[in-house]
C-alpha cells in the first residue's frame, strides 16, 4: 500500500515535469501547428539559466592560501566570490544558495526574448511551409543551440542544487499514519509539483478567460481569414511563442536541481514530450497535462520491482506501449481536436 502511494507521488512528480514540458510544446505544436524540434533546447536553455546565474553569482577572485601548494606545486589559491565582498560572507552565501529560485527571475525575460527572437527571425517564415521544412529548420536550430551550450559549458552534467532550505524530505507517511520514513518526499520535488500546478493554472486561465486562445486557435486553422477580420495574428503568434518558451524555460530552471543540467537534456526530453502532447491530443492543453500525469504515473508503476519481475523490461517500453494503446483506441489521443495536424 505504502509502495503504491509512493509511486503515485513519484508519478505525480514525474508527471508534473512531463506535463510542464508538454504544456510549452503544445502551445507551439498543438496550437500553432509548428513541429518544433527546438522545444527541448528551450527547456535546456532554461536549465542553463539556473547554471549561469549560479555561475555569475559565484564569480570570484583568487586569494592565495598561505602555506599550501596545489597539485603542480605552485602556491595554492582559494576562490572568493564577489558577492561575499559585496554582501558579506553570510548574505553572499545565502544568495548563491538561492541561485536556482532566483534564476526564475532571470529566465522569464531571457526565455521570452529567446522565444520572440526565434519566432520573429525564423519560425514566422515557416507557418505556411510544410511540416517537413519546419522539422528541418527547428532541428537545425536545436542542434545549434545545443552546441553553443556545449561549447561554453562542456558536455558534463553541471550540478545546480536547490537551496539548503529545501534539502530534506517531507514525511507523508507519518502524516497519514504509516511508519515514519517510509513515505517521504523531497521538499524540492513538492515545490516543483506546486510550481507546475501554478504555471499550468496560469496558462489555462490566460487562454480560457481571454479571447486570446480562441483567436490563436482560429488563426492556426485559417490565418488568412483571421487576418481578413482585422486581427493581427502574427503578433499573437509571437506572444504565444514567447509564452511557450517561457513555460519551457521555467520548467527547465526548476528541473535543474532534480537532474544536473547537461547540454543534451533537451533532446532526451524531446521525443517524450512529443509523445505526451500527441497522446494528450493535438490542440488540447488539458489533454497534454492529463497525458503528462498519466504517463508519469504509469511509468512509475512500471518501474516497480514487483512489476518488473512479472514483465521484465516493461519500464523500458511502458510509455510507448501506452501511447500505442491510447492512440489506437482514441483516434485523436485523449482529448484532441479534429483536424489539427491530421494530414
Amino acid at each position: 500500500m505504502d509502495a503504491i502511494i509512493l509511486q503515485i507521488l513519484n508519478g505525480l512528480d514525474k508527471g508534473s515535469a512531463y506535463a510542464l514540458i508538454a504544456l510549452g510544446l503544445t502551445l507551439i505544436f498543438g496550437t500553432l501547428g509548428v513541429v518544433n524540434f527546438a522545444h527541448g533546447a528551450l527547456f535546456m536553455i532554461g536549465a542553463f539559466c539556473a547554471v549561469t546565474l549560479s555561475r555569475l553569482l559565484s564569480l570570484s577572485h583568487e586569494v592565495a592560501i598561505p602555506g599550501q601548494v596545489d597539485f603542480l606545486g605552485n602556491p595554492a589559491t582559494r576562490d572568493v566570490p564577489y558577492v561575499y565582498d559585496i554582501f558579506g560572507e553570510a548574505a553572499g552565501a545565502a544568495i548563491i544558495d538561492w541561485s536556482v529560485p532566483l534564476a526564475i527571475l532571470l529566465a522569464i525575460p531571457v526565455m521570452i526574448a529567446v522565444g520572440v527572437i526565434m519566432e520573429r527571425g525564423l519560425i514566422k517564415h515557416f507557418y505556411k511551409r510544410p511540416h517537413a521544412d519546419q522539422i528541418l529548420v527547428t532541428f537545425g536550430l536545436a542542434i545549434v543551440l545545443q552546441e553553443i551550450i556545449k561549447y561554453y559549458y562542456g558536455a558534463n552534467p553541471i550540478p545546480a542544487p536547490a537551496p539548503q532550505a529545501f534539502v530534506g524530505s517531507f514525511d507523508f507517511g507519518a502524516l497519514i499514519g504509516f511508519e515514519p520514513g517510509t513515505i517521504i518526499y523531497p521538499y524540492w520535488r513538492l515545490v516543483y509539483f506546486a510550481f507546475a500546478v501554478v504555471i499550468i493554472g496560469a496558462v489555462f486561465a490566460f487562454l480560457q478567460f481571454t479571447t486570446f486562445g480562441m483567436v490563436v486557435r482560429a488563426g492556426m486553422a485559417d490565418r488568412e481569414t483571421v487576418g481578413l477580420l482585422g486581427i493581427n495574428i502574427d503578433k499573437r503568434f509571437t506572444i504565444m511563442f514567447g509564452l511557450a518558451a517561457a513555460v519551457a524555460g521555467l520548467a527547465g530552471v526548476m528541473y535543474a536541481p532534480i537532474t544536473s543540467p547537461n547540454y543534451h537534456m533537451g533532446m532526451d526530453f524531446l521525443v517524450l514530450s512529443f509523445v505526451v502532447v500527441v497522446v494528450g491530443g493535438m490542440g488540447s492543453l488539458p489533454g497534454a497535462v492529463l497525458a503528462g500525469f498519466l504517463l508519469g504515473i504509469l511509468e512509475s508503476f512500471a518501474s516497480m520491482r514487483e512489476v518488473l519481475e512479472i514483465v521484465p523490461g516493461l519500464n523500458q517500453i511502458i510509455i510507448y506501449l501506452v501511447a500505442i494503446v491510447i492512440l489506437l483506441t482514441r483516434p485523436r489521443g485523449l482529448m484532441g481536436r479534429k483536424g489539427v495536424m491530421e494530414d
Binding site: 511551409r129 536545436a142 542542434i143 521525443v271 523490461g313 523500458q316 510507448y320 500505442i324 495536424m341 491530421e342
Partner: protein, 413 residues
Amino acid sequence: MFGLDKKDGSLLLIVTALVIFAPFLLNPFPEGSALAQFNAGYPDLMQRFVIFGIFAIGFNILFGLTGYLSFGHAAFLGVGSYAAMWMFKLFGMNVLPALALSMIMSALFAVVIGYVSLRRSGIYFSILTLAFAMMSYALAYSVLATDMDGPTQQGLLQKGLTGGETGLQLTLQDPRILGAQTTADGNIPVPTLFGLEMRSATELVLGDWVFTFSAGYYFSAVVMLIAFYLSIRIFRSPFGMVLRSIKSNQQRLTYTGMNPRPYMLAAFVISGMYAGLAGGLMAAMDPLAGPERMFWTASGEVVLMTILGGVGTLIGPVLGAGAIKYMENIISKINSDILHSWFAFLPDGLEDFIVAIIYPFIGKGWHLTLGIIFMLVVIFLPGGLVQGGQKLAALFRRKKQEDTKSATTEPAE
C-alpha cells in the same frame, strides 16, 4: 530506356555514371595534400553513401508520395541488420541469402506495424511509428539481449537475440552450417558474394592520387541502382499516382472508389523493405548490428536526409543522405592540428586567429555545422538540395541564353 521516359532515363544514366566513377569523383585531391582531408573516396564512406541512399529512397516512397511521415523507419533498418547477422551466424557468409532474409523480415515487421499505424494519419501516425520503433529499440537493447542459454552455457543465444547494447556480432563459435566456421588462420570469416570478399579492394595509384575500388562498394552500388530504378518506376506508375492522390485528398479518393489502406500499406511495406535491405547491406559491409540503429535519432536522420535533399524528388534523398554522412565522417575528423597545418603559411597571429574562428565548426563541432547547414538549406532552398541544383542549372542556362543573345544581337547594334 528500361521503360523510362527521356528525362528519367537520363537521370538514371547520370546517377549510374556518378556511382561508377565515385571512387574518382570523391577523391579529387591528391594524397598527402592539405585538402586530402576532404576526400571521401574510401570504401566505408562510399558504402555508407549508397546504403543510406537506399534507406532514404525507400523512405521517400512513403513520405514523398503519400505524405505519411514515419518517425520509426529505423526499426526496419535494425531488423534488416539483425536478420542478416543471423543469416551469417547460422548459415554462412554469402550476402545474397542474408539480404533476402533482411527484406523478408523487415517486410513482415512492416506489415504488422503498418497495419496498426496506418489506422491513424498525420502526427498520430508519426507517433505510432515512433512508439513501435522505440519499443523495438528498447527490446533489442535490453530484454532480448539477456542470456537465453543461461549464464554457464556457451551457446548461440549467449547474448540473446540481439546482443544488447554491444550489438550482435559474429563469433568463432557460430555454426555457419553452410560455410566455414572459421577461416584457415583461425579468424571469423567475412561476408562474401560467392567467394568475392566484400572488403576486398584494389588500389589504383595515379601519380599522387590513390583510388580505391572496393568490391563491397560496387556490390552495394549495384543494389542501390536497382533500388533507384525501381523507385523511379514506382513514382511513374499508377500506384505512385494513387499514392500522391492519397497525400492530396484521401477523402476524394475513397469516393472515387479506391481503398487507400492497402495502397498505404503496400507503400509502407515497400519502404520498410528498402530500409531492411539497407540494414542488411550495412551488416554485409560491416558485420555487426547494434540496437542504436533503431533509436529515434536514426529514424530522425533519414527524415532529415530526405527533407534536406528534397521531399518527393527522385534523387533528393540520395543527395541528402550523402550530405549528412559526409559531414558526419569528414568534418568530424578535422582536428585543430590539421587546421594549423592548413594555415601554417599565414603569420602566427593570423593563423591562430583563423584557426580559432574555424575551430568551433569542425571536429567535435561538426554537429554545429550540420545544424547550420540544415537551417541554411531550408531557409534558402525550400525544395532541398535538389532545388539548389535546379537553381544553379537555371542560372547556368539563363547565362548561356544571355550569352547567345548578346552574341547575336550585338553585331546588329
